[in-house]
């Protein structure tokens, strides 16, 4: 009779739920089971040393300092916009690589590859949508990030240079979005880029319709600032290839390099800004 386990009554069960004992018992049962102990060699003790090691010894997380000011956690202070911008950039990289498997930046193929992507490739439409909406959202979040950084005066010493890097990154975000805008090779793409690049005709000295171009020899509609962007005098197949290479290789590499500097400088300049 003494060995028979006692059936708990309702009051005891309620008490164990209230005190959290039921969860402890459950965790104990799981973590002491043979499956668990054979899978995991040791537990995680929530000690200050381990908290530091979680960050310092992890290649992905060590971008962070191990400790930060309490105010840096407040969404009201950071708006979380810098982090979201980076996350959206990563989303466009992942979806962009998938899109590259199906897309050829050639005048004859590009538009039909878009149709193929949308109607025949499994999840092709979803990948395209995610890529495009993440890119648009990234433009908005990077502006808001910049606005927040301005409003908190975070560009002030010692963070002046990181603001300059940030302005480069805003510019490259817009250029990434703009070069990607041409790739669907539809009417929307071609004419938006026509409008955008037509501005380069007016470049002083270097555009064939710009001020003072008459003082620069050899400037013509075929050889000026705009044709350097387009690889011709109109938005044609050479422009498509040029924008593709800029969009998929050149600008992401430059922007990526600048992001590394941007994040590194946050640490070196003493973490994210705060009241001194």
């Amino acid at each position: 009779m003494a060995n028979k386990s006692k059936i708990p009554n309702i009051a005891e069960i309620m008490e164990s739920i209230k005190s959290g004992k039921i969860w402890k018992d459950f965790t104990k049962q799981v973590t002491e089971s043979q499956i668990w102990t054979s899978s995991f060699r040791h537990g995680y003790a929530d000690t200050p040393r381990n908290r530091v090691l979680q960050i310092a010894s992890n290649v992905w997380l060590h971008l962070h300092p191990v400790k930060i000011h309490r105010h840096a956690l407040r969404i009201k202070f950071t708006w979380c916009m810098g982090g979201i911008t980076f996350l959206l950039f990563l989303s466009t990289v992942v979806t962009g690589v998938i899109l590259m498997f199906y897309y050829r930046p050639v005048g004859e193929y590009a538009y039909f590859d878009m149709k193929y992507l949308q109607y025949d490739v499994p999840f092709g439409m979803l990948m395209r949508n995610m890529h495009r909406w993440a890119a648009h959202a990234m433009v908005i979040t990077v502006w808001l990030h910049m606005f927040r950084v301005f409003l908190t005066g975070s560009y002030k010493p010692p963070r002046e240079f990181n603001w300059v890097i940030g302005v480069f990154l805003v510019t490259f975000t817009l250029l990434l979005s703009f070069t990607g805008y041409l790739l669907p090779w539809d009417q929307l793409a071609m004419w938006a880029v026509t409008v955008g690049t037509n501005m380069a005709r007016g470049t002083p000295f270097l555009g064939h319709e710009g001020p003072f171009q008459e003082f620069v020899p050899l400037i013509s509609a075929r050889y000026d600032m705009r044709s350097a962007l387009l690889g011709g005098s109109l938005v044609g197949p050479p422009a498509l290839l040029r924008f593709y290479v800029l969009h998929c290789i050149f600008i992401p590499l430059v922007a990526g390099a600048l992001m590394i500097v941007h994040f590194w400088r946050i640490r070196k300049d003493g973490g994210i800004s705060g009241p001194l």
Binding site: R51, L61, K67, L126, W133
Partner: protein, 251 residues
Amino acid sequence: MAFPAKKKAAQELPEKVHVWPYLVRLEFLCAIIVILVLTVWSIVIDAPLEEAANPTKTPNPSKAPWYFLGLQDILVYFDPWFAGVIAPTLIIVGLMLIPYLDVNPKGNGYYTFSERKTAICVYTFGFLVLWIALIIMGVFLRGPGWNLFMPWQYWDPHKVVALVNVDLPYAFGIRTYLNASIFGGAVVLGYFGLGTAVYFFMERKAIKNVGFLRMFLKINLFLIMIGIVIKITLRLAFNIKYIWVTPWFNI
């Protein structure tokens, strides 16, 4: 009674916290929410794909990507060399110069309006009015021929808008090209010269500390920004096309 006790507890909290778990869990939560919203958005709304590119068929209106529509809109008031080349360059360079021009040590790392009124007013005006508001106008209100249409109006491609714009010197009765050039130049250079002089006079005590170059760049970037607003106002209110005409460029 509970409230003061809680407040006291908050004061006793350490100033610094561990990134693991306090920041990492926030970032993780934020990432989940963003990815979730992006996925739902992408399932519900398809990215646009119009008919195949056709260089012989120009849509009316032809619009740049939405984030450049602020610049496309000031094309109404300025020639492409300014609206499409100089203005964006000045925006980028001007933004980069902000930390070097703003020498106010206050408001570093916290929200304050009272300690840096001018800086916040200028930036907010540039961002919300000259950038965001013009984009909203460009996306929703600019129709065929880049004419203004209210949201309830039909986008009539044959809408006739009388072009009665004249240059500023003409409005002042100057009829010869040379005189018009001289008059326009005097107005434009006078605007910048006078603006700079007034600013330097008002802030004469600060020149020694702030530095001449810094103050010169600050006021002239500001005058360019306000100049854009003045030009827009002149066009909308008085149908002024150019202020300064020269054989090489027009402003």
